[in-house]
Structure formats: C-alpha cells, structure tokens
Amino acid sequence: MPGFPFPGRPGGEHDEPLLDMIIARRALPPDAPQEMHDLARMLAALAGPAEPGELAREAAVRAAFRRAASPVGVSPAARRPMRHRRPRRSRASSRSRARLATALVATVAGLGSVLAAYTDLLPSPIQQVAHVAVAAPAPHRTGSPPSTTTSRARHLHATLQPTSRPGPRPSHSAGTAQRPGQTATPRPRLTPFSLPPGHGTCNPAPRHSPVPSPTASDRSWPAFTWSPEQSCPSVVTWPSG
C-alpha cells in the first residue's frame, strides 16, 4: 500500500500531520492517501447521530432531572425531618473529640487520686505509695481505711491546727489510752459542727489527750461529749488547744 505508512512500515512518522487533521476533524487534502480518507470516514461514522436504542434511557434520566429540579423533588434524606438527621462529623473532628475526652477523664482521675491521697481515703498500700510519691499522709496501721466522715474531719482538723504547735492534742475516744482512773463509759459522740437530733444545746467538751504530738497511729479527731445538762451557745466552736 504505497504512500500510507502503517506501524512497522518505513515512513511511519510522515503521516502525523494527516492524523492530527483526522483527530481535529478537519477535512483532509484531496491528495491524501485513500486509507486516510477511509479512516476519517470510519471515525465520522463513529461520531454519528444516535442509533436506535441509544436514547432508550432518556425517559428515566429526564425523570431524575424533574425530581432534582422540583423544589420538593429532593432526596429521601432531605425530606426527612431535621431531627432525624444526624450531623455529619468529620473523622478528624471525632478523633480530636475522643482525645479531648480522654485527656479530660485522665485529668479528673489524676486530680481525684491526689485528692483522695491527701484526704487519706486510699487503701493502705496505695496510700503508702502516695505518701512516698506526693507526700500525702501516711496510711493507717490498722489496715482498713477509716470511714469517710472521720477521715475528712481529721484532714480538716489537721488543716485548722498546725502540727508544729506544741501542747496536748485531743485524742479519739476509741483506741487511745485512757487516763488512769477514768472509766470507759460509752458516751454519745458528736462530730464537729453538728448537734444531736432533737436537742438545741450541746456542750463541746473535748477530751484532751495528754499525748503531746500525734503519731501516725493516733492522729485522731477530738471527741466531743455531750451532756444534756450543760448548755452551750447555738454556734459550736472548735476547741482550741
């Protein structure tokens, strides 16, 4: 086939201008090889008008267009009431929220642990660790942690009364040494700042312990005894010294 180069044939690069004309859908010169004209005619047939069946989906596509163009013809998701829609959050936003929540929980847990350590609420082994690590109060030797009310009150007492102050300290009624000759009669105990139910007066008479400085075992809350015969001001004050 003279004049029309095919792949592998000599002179294959000389047809490029004609191929560019075919691609651009320009008319070929009359003296172009017949094969080039045939190729142009083939491609023109390929870009020809619609054949039967090629527009079969027109009705469906037009219906989709009508739905989209109609004000109410929106997607089912858009027709749903707003309260049913879930806000779309990006993955990065969810991750940062999770990180923030984790940091918040860790901070609260850490602060809570330190607070519990300083109020002597932790079990003895953990309290001992806290004692060493963050200079929290040493744990009780009795083993079981004290009750919450007593421990908090003790902490409050320690806060109000400096430990460097010399002098007798009140001692807890239970577990402490009794004065010689004193009988151990059970008396109703009151916690500070409280009155017995049904009684308007009280007599805060703390029993002071002769022990000058508390040890880890007898850091105790001053006991208040109450006798109905005595009266006191309506405001309960903390015993000094």
Binding site: M1, F4, P5, F6, P7, G12, D15, E16, L19, I22, I23, R25, E35, M36, D38, L39, R41, M42, L43, A45, L46, A47, G48, P49, A50, E51, E54, L55, A56, R57, E58, A60, V61, R62, A64, F65, R66, A68, A69
Partner: protein, 183 residues
Amino acid sequence: MIGAAFGVTLASAQGGDETAFACLFRDVQPTLLRYLHVITPEAEDVAGDTWLQVVKGLPRFRGGEEAFRAWLFTIARHRAVDAGRSRSRRPDVPLTLVQIAEQPLAPDAAELALEAISTRSVMVLIKSLPREHAEIIMLRVVAGLEAADVARIVGKTPGAVRVTAHRALRRLADLAERAGVTH
C-alpha cells in the same frame, strides 16, 4: 456538538428547563454510550449512573461545552471503574463465563467484510484494539476532547496521549484494511 447555543442551553437546564436538559442528553448520550461500550461491559448501567450524577451536579457546573463534556466523561470513567471493581468482587461468576468474556472481541475478518461501514462495525473494530488505544481514540477523536482533558482522564501526559492516539489510529487503519471495512 451544540456549538454556540450551548451556553444558553446549559443555563436553561440549570434553571430547571427539562427540554434544555434533554437537548444536552441527546447531544452527548450516543458518544458517551459508545465510549462506555469500549471500556466496560455494563455500559448502559454506567451511563445511567453517570447522568444521575450529572443531574445532581449540574446546578454547580461552570464552563463551556468542552468543559462539560470533559466533566461528563470523567464521571463516566469513574463510574466504569467502580463498576469494574464491583464486578471483580462478585465471587459467583462461573469460570467458563469469565473465559468467554476475556476472549478477544475482534470478529472474523470475513464477517466484517460483509458489513458496510456503520457505527456498529467500526465499534467492533475499535473494541479489538488494545484497551488504552481504544479509550484514547474514543475520547480524543469521537468525543472531541482536548489532549489535556484526555490526559487528565486517563492519567497520562498530553504528549503521551498524542503519541498513543497516532499509534491507535494507524493500528485501526491497518485493521480496517485487513478486514475490508473501508472498501
């Protein structure tokens, strides 16, 4: 190609004019369908999905007729790739059918010689080309996209698209001559 009236037609379609939209559809659909027949066996379904996406994005589209075609064919190619992935995930295709589908689509030369030059016969020839050649001919020559647009769609450089288009046209001419389609 719609030509000078494309801007008005597009604006009317974007304003909700169904007739204008139908004009756009009829102008592009045949070429789109022929292109899809070359790159996917599910051309009809992919074309439908493509138009649905065009309908959704039409109000936001900005550009001329060439840009519109480039946008539409880009969507079509993505949908065809998605369809191919979906098809490849189906585990229940019998092996015999796969083997049949993978056989070359080129018809016997004697059969082609009996046919006149028609869209269908040229499509058969195009399908017998390597997939890359066939796709570039369809996009560059039949759809009339610029080399830069075709390069973006198929992931090549414009220079590579030009070289491949020339090579594909030479091969197509060779096939047509051997098949006697052009006589």
